[in-house]
Amino acid sequence: MAVSAYEVISTQTLGSAAATVTLSSISQTYTDLVLIVNGVINSGESGIFCQVGNGSVDTGTNYSTTYILGDGSNAVSGRETSATNTFLGRIQADPYNSTSIIHYMNYANTTTYKTFLGKGSDATYAIQQVGLWRSTSAINTIKLSLVSTFTFSAGTTFTLYGIKAA
């Protein structure tokens, strides 16, 4: 009989609106991280902007994203390069509760750049992304934010899981 390889690291439910959410001191003992964001924002819709780092987040232009999205009529693809964040998942204003799943692959290794997979949906779009952080540093901090002055609404949940390979 094997032990569980998929464990909850942390769960956070916002008690009040927040422009940013930071997950810090993330354990380095897993192979991959999975973050599930479920909830709404105060207005409009937004990608979930993600910055990562070790000790503090990297605010330099070391991120990029390639995405594909569908709106029910068309599928389009786009890219952002040399950005100050990678956007992963999708979230929308109340009452369109949205769920995003973000995979941080091999986040603790110090040899390769870090690649992320995101998928999200709201009442307007379904989107999938691959994101890159051009650094070989291990990730122990993740900071999430939104477009412009938008905020994550109270009640939005952020659940971080660790997956551990044998």
Partner: protein, 193 residues
């Protein structure tokens, strides 16, 4: 390299957990085995003797081609390389979205991996092999994969079917060109039903 599941190694893992933790967590998602590619690279990886005790399998990978363009990885089940596979992909290149489907392939194409020109960049992918022990169904997989190289790259959603009702006990992955480079990793997990 083919990693063969060894029941005894899992007993050992269990024992270690029991000793170090008072309340071991026997969850529904378990690690079956991991292959990490060494400095020489590999031309194929595989898992054999896969336990038949789970409901689904999930393969999580990171990979790059150390000597050429971006490539796809080809997957076959139980050593079957006959033309009984069908594959569909929805992809985005950063400039356009597209889709493709091919019948009667001799393999599935669940993963894209990064090219040599993208220094430090690895492609990643997550592939679910659903109801893999069921002997009444053809076997279906789905995957999310891609790489981003700050100005190039692809993101792709793929699905595929192996038109065979045999339970999946092994699979092999080979690149369509090139090799799988150092630090590439293939981690197989079992999900209980």
């Amino acid at each position: 390299m083919t990693l063969r599941y060894d029941t005894r190694s899992r007993v050992s893992t269990y024992t270690q957990s029991w000793v170090s933790n008072a309340d071991p967590d026997f969850g529904a998602y378990e690690s079956i085995g991991t292959i990490t590619v060494g400095s020489g690279g590999l031309s194929s990886v595989g898992f054999s003797g896969i336990p038949q005790t789970y409901k689904h399998l999930q393969l999580r990978i990171m990979d790059r081609n150390p000597s050429g363009e971006y490539i796809s990885l080809r997957m076959t089940f139980n050593g079957d390389s006959s033309a009984v596979y069908t594959s569909h992909e929805l992809y985005g290149s950063g400039a356009a979205a597209g889709g493709t489907g091919t019948i009667d392939l001799t393999y599935l194409t669940p993963f894209l991996i990064a090219p040599a020109s993208a220094t430090g960049v690895f492609g990643v992918g997550i592939c679910d092999i659903l109801d893999y022990t069921n002997t009444n169904k053809f076997k279906t997989m789905r995957s999310l994969t891609g790489y981003d190289a700050n100005g190039s790259g692809y993101v792709e959603l793929a699905s595929g079917v192996w038109r065979d009702t045999t339970a999946v006990s092994s699979f092999t992955i080979v690149p369509n060109a090139g090799t799988m480079g150092q630090y590439s990793q293939f981690a197989l997990y079992g999900i209980k039903g």
